[in-house]
Each structure stands twice: as C-alpha cells, then as structure tokens.
Amino acid sequence: MHSFWAVFKRELKSYFTTPIAYVFLVIFLSFSAYLPFRQGFFEMRQADMRAFFMNLPLLFVFMVPSAAMRLWAEERRVGSIELLFTLPITVTQAVLGKFFAAWLFLAIALALTFPMPITVCYLGEPDIGLIITGYLGSLLMAGGFLAIGCFFSVVSKNQVISFVLSVVACAVLVFAGRPTTLNYLSTLLPAGLVSAIENMSFQTHFESIQKGVLKFKDLSYFVLLIVGWIAASSIVLDERKAS
C-alpha cells in the first residue's frame, strides 16, 4: 500500500510542479463555461445544468487524453521507469497509483467548475440531486476516458501517438451512442447489433446517469470499463517496461 501512495503522491504533485496542471485547468474551465453560454445557458430560463453536462463528453474526448498521455509515455522516454521498477513497487501498484492520481486531478478540475452550480442555485431552485448525479456521471466518464488514455500511454513511448490513439478510441465510444450514428447504423445493421453498439457507448450511459437515476447497469459499465483498461495497461506494461 505504501508503494501505491508513494506513486500516487509523486504523480499528483508532478501535475502542479510542471505547467501541465495550470494550462489544463485554464483551458478546461474556460471551455466548460463558454460552451453552455454559447448555447444559451440563460436564455433557456431553466434552473438546471443540462447545458453544462451535455458538452462534457466532447470536451473530455480531447482534454482527458491530454492529461493521460504523459502517464507512462514520458516515463518510458526519459527512462525513469527503470528507477521506478527497481524500487520495491509492483507494476499494478504503479499503474493504480498513477491512474488514481490523474483521476483525482480530473476531479479537482471538475470541482473547480463550482461557479456553474452556484449560479444555477442563485438564479432558481434546481434539483440538487440531478446536479450531484451529473457530476458523478462526469467523474465516472472521466475515469473511463482516463483508463483508455492510460492504456495508450503504455502502448507508445511517443506522447503524440498515445494522445491521438486515445482521442480516437474515446471519440468512437462517444459517437457510437449519438442519435445520428445510431440512426445511420439502424439502416444497415439488425436491431440487436445496433442496441449492442448503443450500450457500449459512453454517451448512452452518461445520459442515463444524467437523468438522476443511478442504475446498476450504468455504474457497472463504467467500473468494468475502467477495470478492463487498467488491467490491460498493467499486463502490457509488465511486458514492455524495459523495451
């Protein structure tokens, strides 16, 4: 456990000792606030945060891989991975330590969007439960994207390659559930297959949580996704750490 904490602490600090955290936070916060306003946050005259949460999947497709790409690619390029794995730390501990540090960093980014819910509460009487599940869904989605980003960061030593690959993988998983894609697919594929694709998408489960109902189906989707990609990262990393 102490090895996990050592990696976790170091990783989290490293976001803030380098400019990464600040650049990321400024860009994420400006876009996450700008997009809902552009789409008429006030004109809607509804005290809810739908307009805010609606944009998050697309924003996360670009932002989360940019936070995840350095996790292992950097470590392997610089060679510090040799130091890390000659300390008494197992691959699983290191992968989990880094993953949770990055996840906490994303949670901090999400928490810093607090002016949005405050504005909504000031202007009207929103359903607080809905806002909380909205944030929970966003956090789970960030975790899912992060696990994918972590995997591609293990796969390539080159940060640009790992960024592009994880953006594509995340985008596929988001767009698979958008109505336009599903409408198109239903003209080609049998209904069962279309619904399978729909259920594999982030969008579907994220929207379902947005509605304020925490279903086992949606939670297990995110948990399985995270566990699966993290396990894959550990296995691949164990093979490739020295190459």
């Binding site: 102490h2 090895s3 904490w5 050592a6 990696v7 602490k9 170091r10 600090k13 490293s14 000792t17 380098t18 610089v78 060679g79 510090s80 991975i81 040799e82 130091l83 794995f85 000659t86 300390l87 008494p88 730390i89 197992t90 750490k241 020295a242």
Partner: protein, 239 residues
C-alpha cells in the same frame, strides 16, 4: 549474497546475456568488464528485476529474482546506466519519494537523509530541480538514491561515468569504504578503476564470461597492464 545461475536473455536474434553464472559474497567488490554491448547492463538489469531473464535465475540475499522480486528490490540499491530520475523534482522531493517507496519514515528518514546527502556531497544543490544539475551531480543523486536504505547489496552501472577526476576519486573512496560489509557489483570501462576498487573482476564479451579472476592475478598471469590484458582477452576471444 548474490548467486547467478545460467542467466540468459536475448533481444530478438541478439543474445545479450548467454548463460552466465557466478557468486558474489559479502565483502567482495566485483567489477564487470567488457566491451560495449557485451551484456553488462542487461545482466545488471536482470539482477535488479527490471528485465526478466529468458531462462536461468539468480538469488539476491536469498530471494529469487523471479519469484520474490519485490524482496530483492527491497534489499538492493541499484544505480542505472544514465541515473534516470524525475527531472522536474528537486533533489529533496526526489529522495523523499524514494523514502516513501522504500518505507523509510519519521526519524529513520531524517537519519537516512543526513547520512546520504553529505556522503554524496549534494548539500549545496539539495533544493535545485534535477534537470538543472550537471551530469556529475545527477549521477551523485542516483548514487544517493541507491544508498538511502543502506542496502547490503549494491549494483552500480558505471558509477563514475560523467564525473570529473576529483569526483571519480571521491566515489571510488566511497565504494572502498563500503566494501567491507556490503556486496557490490560495478560495471565499468575504466580499467584503472577496477584496480583501485575491485577485489574481483569478471570480463564478459558477447554475453559470455571469458575470465573470472582478480585484477592482481590477471596482471601476474599476462605480465602486463590491465589495459593490455583486457585487449588481449576480448580481442582474442571475439576473433
């Protein structure tokens, strides 16, 4: 304390280490010598559990590198070839991270830092980030990291590489002072270093052990300097 049995590792068609076996006891300083690409670094990486061998195994302090790699890593100090570190960290933060990972805390940590920082002469740059340090200082930070838990077994891959003559002298002195109660393996290209610090030397080339002897015996046997001995042995066997 270290026992290597038929260790073998290849990278694609290249056999880097080809079935080497040797034992090193407490109080010995073993110098691994060999031309570039001889397999020194690969062998050391396997002992430090960073690389998995294709076949064969080794034990360090009684722990097997395959089945008990965490214990092996706990009991040895390892300095890698280019002393990799987290460059954005200050030396202090970096050494504290190593202490975290090695479960050194509280008073014990303070003692460890007080011992190791002057020992490697890095007090003056303690609060500097590692990326701003010269190569010699980076090497010393690597050394400090390897010594922080006062391990019984030390594996140092070219410990004096990139140091100036004074620093080289200091590091050699440091190794000599620890030699009595530790088991140390160093790899080097610098033959005078072998004469100064090593009590035993193994010359490897193309992954195989060519000679396992002491520097004195080698000089006696070939009646020339260690430089010439090295050339004679490695060239003769390769040709």
């Amino acid at each position: 304390m270290i026992s290597v049995k038929e260790l073998r590792r290849s990278f694609g068609p290249i056999v880097a280490v080809d079935g080497i076996s040797f034992d090193v006891e407490k109080g010995q300083v073993l110098g691994l010598l060999g031309p570039n690409g001889a397999g020194k670094t690969t062998a050391m990486r396997m002992l430090a559990c960073f690389l998995k061998p294709d076949s064969g195994t080794a034990t360090v302090c009684g722990y097997d590198i395959l089945t008990n790699s965490v214990e092996v890593r706990r009991s040895l100090g390892y300095l890698a070839e280019n002393s990799p570190a987290y460059n954005e960290m200050t030396i202090g933060a970096f050494l504290n991270f190593v202490c975290d990972a090695r479960q050194i805390s509280g008073k014990e940590r303070k003692r460890a830092l007080d011992r190791v920082v002057p020992m490697c002469s890095i007090e003056s740059v303690y609060h500097q980030t590692i990326e701003t340090l010269s190569k010699g200082y980076q090497r010393r930070v690597g050394l400090a990291q390897a010594l922080i838990h006062d391990p019984d077994v030390l594996i140092l891959d070219e410990p004096t590489d990139g140091l100036d003559p004074n620093q080289k002298h200091e590091v050699r002195g440091l190794i000599n002072s620890m030699a009595k109660d530790k088991c140390i393996i160093i790899s080097t290209h610098i033959l005078e270093e072998v004469e100064i610090v090593c009590s035993r030397t193994i010359i490897i080339s193309r992954g195989r052990i060519l000679v396992d002897s002491t520097p004195e015996k080698l000089k006696e046997k070939y009646r020339c300097s260690l430089d010439e001995v090295f050339r004679k042995i490695t060239k003769a066997k390769v040709a």
